[in-house]
């Protein structure tokens, strides 16, 4: 029996020895915030974190992307303080969170329009929602059918862990399948670059990502803009969220309050999104 104790003791000592120092001397709770999730929310999280850290030099905020699904999974697992998402949480995620004792609180921090973008030399200006759906499902395959050049349409979409994709699928595709030959990308920036470099391309990004290097199309005669999102006239808009476990407290509450403050919401606007307050 003594041998067992010896072995267990030795292994326990080894475990402690190999435990990184920060395990034992962990940072005091409240000095740091970790965030992960949506690449659409990422610019807001990064900029607000930067300003918040400048105001509070002793605070460290770590921000990662990964997509909305990653952000929601991380807050459920308790490995981040804030999970960022560009879509509302799903029922199965709620169930998983509840089973782990998490009471996930949804905090809308901004509104966003999903801008439909094409190459800047594309002469087409406007599409109806139906035409957009037909393009992404493959029924319309050439710009000529829409009054444009005789040029094949290259569809650029987001992958399924993206909240932007979820919203686009729901609001534009009505849950239809994206055409088989579509190019699926992992981030807003990748959509932007692909469309910028491909004359026949069409894609979609959060309005915060829109730049002069591409052309934004009107949908049903309405262009994605802050005004149209605020007025509720633009058909492809959504809220952006930060998810926390329970009522925010301590440093997390201070940061969330900052994001929702006049200053935080001004940052949201500066970046190109629409304020919720």
């Amino acid at each position: 029996m003594k041998n067992i104790y010896r072995i267990v003791f030795t292994l326990a000592v080894f475990t402690l020895l190999f435990t990184p120092e920060k395990n034992v001397y962990a940072k005091k709770k409240g000095e740091s915030i970790t965030m992960a999730g949506s690449t659409t929310v990422l610019p807001i999280a990064q900029k607000t974190a930067e300003v918040f850290m400048n105001k509070n030099p002793d605070v460290n905020i770590s921000v990662r992307g990964g997509g909305s699904s990653v952000g929601v999974a991380a807050i459920i697992d308790g490995t981040v303080d804030i999970g960022n998402s560009s879509r509302p949480i799903q029922t199965k995620e709620l169930a998983l969170g509840r089973s782990k004792g998490r009471i996930l609180k949804e905090i809308p921090i901004a509104r966003d329009g999903i801008a439909v973008i094409v190459h800047k030399d594309n002469p087409v200006e406007n599409l109806s929602l139906e035409q957009l759906r037909d393009i992404f499902t493959g029924k319309i395959a050439n710009w000529k059918e829409l009054g444009g050049k005789n040029m094949p349409i290259v569809v650029v979409s987001r992958d399924t862990s993206s909240g932007t994709f979820e919203i686009f699928k729901e609001k534009v595709l009505k849950n239809a399948k994206v055409k088989d030959q579509a190019i699926m990308t992992a981030a807003n920036q990748a959509v932007l670059t692909t469309v910028m470099d491909t004359p026949g391309a069409i894609g979609y990004v959060g309005i915060g990502f829109v730049s002069d290097d591409i052309k934004v199309l009107s949908i049903n005669g309405i262009k994605a803009s802050k005004d149209s999102v605020i007025k509720g006239t633009y058909p492809v808009s959504r809220k952006l969220y930060m998810y926390v476990n329970g009522e925010p407290q301590g440093l997390v509450k201070r940061y969330i309050d900052f994001v929702l403050s006049e200053e935080g919401q001004s940052i949201v606007e500066e970046i190109g999104y629409v304020r919720v307050k």
Partner: protein, 364 residues
């Protein structure tokens, strides 16, 4: 239908199909792999060199998984069990091969194929200890089987449910002579009335035996029932409790068929997990688990009880995509004797395991 071992050429075709799917289907395929490397030291009564039964290292498990997104409503999963294939001498061994279809009903899904058995905590068991889930450890039900599962989630995250039909023999069964005559039917309900409180129960019925359907002698009606509870709180502690009962009725002659003398097995499991992430910001867990396999009446009548208690203590440390697990398990067996009755330690085992995983998403 029951033989899941397939020839090497078939595997090449399937893998080729999956890779080719990148050009056939728009979307993405998740490719993942995991390897479980384990050292085991076990002994009778104590760890003195005379009593060591086993001191060995092995690759205990190895899986290669492809999860193609076939459409917005349909996805697939295809998992090759590399180690079982190697140890069985087969060229390939499938663990999972199923399609998941998202029905038009919100939060309702259908799995078709060689899929997870949704019974008790079997399909959610995440190996906090190295040992398998209770029903799997006892060999009452395999973790995967050929069949159809319909499952869904209760609105607002108040739980989940499933009903399913499978062969009931498990994905490893290769002996066609002993295969089930009829499908196994199962149902599972898991309620989460409060955050951190999960209460569930499952039921399975299977009719097994060989020698044709009309011959009832030797055929067995198998009933599996389980009730379980999981309590999580303070981002720190999780407590599991489970009761499992198996009842088998085998027809011994035609006059008593189809129901013969019942044979009952009862098992209990409780497990406490302490997760130190909220304190240390590192994924460090301490685990304690007790399994109690009650002696069957049959064994007690013979004076040779088969009751067992398994006590497991463990440490888990997860970093990046790897997890180190150290488990110590003591098995105690029941003894009925005028001189000494009770549970006495019979074996001790130490397992040290490294599990590492990788996954990558291929997008078109």
């Amino acid at each position: 239908m029951k033989n899941f071992f397939i020839k090497k050429s078939m595997i090449y075709v399937l893998l080729g199909f999956l890779f080719a799917s990148q050009s056939i289907f728009a979307g993405e395929t998740k490719v993942a792999g995991e390897i479980w490397t384990r050292y085991t030291l076990s002994s009778v009564t104590n760890f003195s060199k005379h009593n060591i039964k086993q001191s060995s290292s092995e690759i205990a498990r190895g899986y290669l998984t492809f999860q193609p997104k076939l459409s917005d409503m349909m996805s697939g999963r295809f998992t090759i069990d590399v180690i079982s294939a190697y140890s069985s001498g087969k060229s390939a061994f499938l663990k999972y091969a199923y399609l998941t279809w998202q029905t038009p009903v919100p939060d309702l899904f259908v799995d078709i194929g060689l899929a997870k058995n949704m019974f008790g905590m079997l399909h959610t068991w995440d190996y906090t200890v190295i040992e398998k889930d209770l029903v799997d450890r006892l060999g009452y039900l395999a973790s995967a089987d050929m069949g159809v599962q319909i499952y869904g989630f209760i609105p607002m995250g108040f739980g989940n449910y499933s009903i399913g039909m499978s062969h009931g023999e498990g994905y490893k069964k290769d002996d066609t002579a002993k295969l089930s005559l009829f499908p196994a039917y199962m149902a599972d309900l898991n309620l989460i009335p409060l955050p951190g409180v999960s209460i569930g129960g499952s039921y399975l019925y299977d009719y097994v035996g060989s020698g044709g359907i009309t011959n009832k002698i030797g055929k067995t009606h198998k009933y599996l029932m389980t009730a379980y509870v999981k309590l999580s709180g303070f981002n720190f502690v999780t407590l599991y409790g489970q009761y499992l009962q198996r009842e088998q009725r085998t027809a011994t002659n035609t006059s008593v068929a189809p129901v013969g003398q019942p044979k009952m097995n009862e098992h209990y499991m409780t497990m406490l997990v302490l997760n130190f992430y909220s304190l240390l910001e590192q994924q460090l867990e301490l685990v304690g688990k007790v399994d109690y396999d009650k002696s069957t009446e049959e064994s007690l009548k013979k004076g040779k009880p088969d009751g067992k208690i398994l006590v497991t203590a463990g440490i888990n440390y997860t970093f990046d995509a790897a997890k180190i697990q150290l488990n110590y398990t003591q098995q105690m067996s029941e003894v009925l004797d005028p001189k000494k009755s009770g549970y006495f330690a019979t074996t001790h085992q130490i397992d040290l395991q490294l599990v590492w995983k990788f996954s990558s998403k291929i997008v078109d």
